[in-house]
């Protein structure tokens, strides 16, 4: 046999497997509005950059007549590729092959590419579209899941891990995405839950649709499990590429630097923020007013909207922005916003991304529901995350910064590198109304006109304490700055902090209150 004939045989074999689950299964997939696994991989990666691994893998099922079945690639496509020239490892479950179910070989292909990603120290992208465990393979499929979870954990903080939910992802399978850094969902396509609607109905008698239980909307607004929400798969792939451009390949590198660009003139920083601390505004516009090209890539846009997190660039360098959002809930910290911010801060710290914090909040949200939901434990995460972070940490206090909320938002006391305050900043133990009511209680209640006295005392307190200078006098604010020059101050600070190096105590790991 000549090598040409052998090559032809290879082509034929390859052609067979490339068809996945066959025409009818592919048609079904498309009818559900979903792309095939192979199309997805090709759409995410740079043109002609995909190198497939284990195309000829065969499944291990021997019972229940499974040995007579052919499962092309065992229902998963794995390999390496590039996104904007950056190398990544990728796997995509193929729903057209046995419902993308996870058997032993399927899992081995995934763990192999995960090991590879960890060895190469490049990001890992996992596309989930699977009916769950391959029941015929029994305990072997459970082993497969466990081996994936173990690697997710080992890779955490070493390489960025991205999960894309493009179909069902149910039962134990959800824990792989849950262990990764970013979860992408697409409207009407993504479904994530531990127990599905059918089980819930038979066991508990509660009726609910898949979409209502664990659809894309639910996870991006209520649970916070998803980080990016898209209306279509194509939009989702654009988001993934955009994210990859902001983050480094691994924890030893810095994100790739782009050419510095000025913010757009449309965003005038000194007109965005009203002076009255009770008036709302969109803090994202402040970020746009200081970030390169006024570009801000927001994460978890719909979840816990009272805090804003995401990436922008300063002088071409990726920056993680954390900002209280006075537009929602006056920008308070609560259970959800604390979780959201703390996780983001820790990712930035793990991957050498400097943090800029914009502060404008009245404090932690009071209420029985918050206390009972554990706002103490969750709120502590913000303090912990900032305190342990060793990347450059810069704070700008825009307006109000009261009480525990002020301390938590990367204050000088948590060892921030530099704390700026605008002249409109109010750093105080609490808002003027609350403080006056406590300090001048006697004067107010014993006055002839208590309401008038209260107003007078509130004004007194405001005049004396509602400013940045009391804190600046103690060195708690390092510099009071003109709002219109904020970007220049930040650029200088970032430049100076380039060489920041903080020795850390010898320990296995801290014990963050989870």
């Amino acid at each position: 046999m000549s090598i040409k004939r052998k090559t032809r045989e290879l082509m034929e074999r390859r052609e067979q497997i490339l068809q996945g689950g066959g025409e009818s299964a592919i048609k079904k997939q498309q009818e559900m509005g979903k792309m095939t696994a192979r199309d997805r991989v090709i759409s995410i990666l740079d043109e002609n950059s995909f190198q497939e691994y284990d195309l000829f893998a065969q499944h291990e099922g021997r019972d229940f007549d499974m040995d007579k079945k052919e499962l092309p690639g065992d229902g998963v496509i794995t390999g390496t590729g590039k996104i904007y020239g950056s190398p990544v490892c990728i796997f995509a479950q193929d729903f057209t092959v046995a419902g993308g179910s996870l058997g032993l070989m399927h899992a081995r292909k995934i763990t192999k590419i995960m090991d590879h990603a960890l060895k190469l120290k490049v990001p890992l992208i996992g596309i989930n579209d699977s009916g769950g465990a391959r029941v015929q393979e029994g305990v072997n499929s459970l082993a497969g899941y466990g081996e994936i979870f173990y690697r997710n954990t080992q890779a955490s903080g070493v390489i960025p891990q991205i999960s894309v939910i493009l179909g069902p992802c149910a039962g134990g399978a959800v824990y792989s995405p849950a262990l990764t850094d970013f979860v992408f969902v697409v409207d009407k396509i993504s479904k994530m839950f531990i127990t599905g609607p059918e089980v819930i109905k038979t066991v508990l008698g509660e009726e609910i649709s898949m979409e209502e239980l664990g659809g894309a909307q639910v996870h991006s607004t209520i649970t916070g499990n998803a980080h990016f929400y898209a209306a279509s798969e194509t939009e989702c792939f654009e988001q993934i590429k955009n994210l990859i451009s902001y983050i480094p390949w691994n924890n030893n590198l810095k994100p790739r630097k782009l050419r510095p660009r000025s913010p757009k003139n449309a965003y005038k920083i000194d007109t965005i923020v009203p002076v009255d601390p009770k008036q709302p505004y969109d803090v994202r516009n402040v970020i746009r007013a200081i970030a390169d090209s006024s570009e801000f890539f927001e994460i978890q846009e719909q979840f816990a909207q009272n805090i804003v997190i995401g990436y922008g660039r300063m002088n071409g360098q990726t920056i993680g922005f954390v900002a209280n959002q006075p537009m929602y809930m006056a920008g308070v910290l609560d259970v959800d916003s604390s979780d959201k911010a703390a996780r983001f801060i820790r990712f930035c710290d793990a991957f050498n991304i400097p943090l800029i914090t914009l502060v404008d909040l009245p404090g932690y949200l009071p209420g029985v529901d918050q206390e009972h939901a554990g706002v103490i434990r969750h709120g502590a995460k913000v303090l912990y995350a900032y305190s342990e972070a060793t990347v450059p940490r810069i704070t700008v206090i825009l307006r109000k910064a009261y009480g525990g909320g002020y301390i938590a938002m990367n204050s000088r006391h948590l060892n921030a590198d530099i704390v700026f305050a605008w002249p409109s900043a109010e750093i105080a133990v609490m808002g003027p109304e609350g403080a006056a009511n406590i300090i001048f209680r006697k004067e107010i209640t014993s006055a002839e006109d208590p309401e008038k006295m209260r107003k007078q005392k509130i004004k007194e307190y405001k005049d004396k304490f509602a400013n940045p200078y009391v804190a600046a006098a103690k060195g708690y604010v390092d510099a009071v700055i003109e709002p219109e020059n904020t970007r220049d101050y930040l650029l200088h600070a970032l430049e100076v902090l380039e060489t920041k190096d903080v020795p850390r105590p010898l320990r296995k790991h801290g014990c963050i209150p989870l």
Partner: protein
């Protein structure tokens, strides 16, 4: 901007009123209702297997009220206070949802059944077994 879509609300925070949008989650939060020991609600969704009490009957915390099967477990449910059964809202075999009101107690009468103490606990156990018969007893302990 979303500001135009929903009207701004006032959030009272330590006496200061902030103009802001209210998140859906905050809006739909439930007001705190203190536990009423006289109302027995389903702590978990499931099926009522057997009801051991009748309306008007006096009970104390050691008296099993009913068996609620949930998550493959037969849970024996007790009241946390003594009292009289005012109203039973369930029937045997009924599927109940979480937090559903199942049973209501009235005020205990002047002479409540004395709490079993260490010395007569054995006796109470025996009495119970006799009353429900061996078969039921075995079932409820599964």
């Amino acid at each position: 901007m979303k500001q135009n879509e929903t009207p701004l609300a006032e959030l009272n925070f330590e006496g200061s009123k902030y103009k802001t949008l209210i998140t859906k989650k905050f809006q739909s939060r439930k007001a705190y209702i203190p536990d009423d020991p006289n109302k027995i609600n389903a702590q978990i969704p499931g099926t009522i297997l057997k009801i051991m009490v009748k309306e008007g009957q006096q009970i104390n915390p050691s008296k099993c009220l009913f068996i609620l099967e949930a998550m493959k477990m037969k849970n024996r449910v007790f009241a946390s206070v003594s009292g009289t059964i005012k109203k039973i809202y369930i029937t045997e075999g009924q599927i109940v949802t979480k937090n559903q009101l199942l049973l209501e107690l009235g005020k205990p009468e002047l002479k409540p059944i004395p709490e079993p103490d260490q010395t007569n606990q054995e006796a109470t156990k025996e009495r119970k077994t006799r009353r429900f018969g061996k078969r039921n007893r075995a079932k409820s302990d599964q």
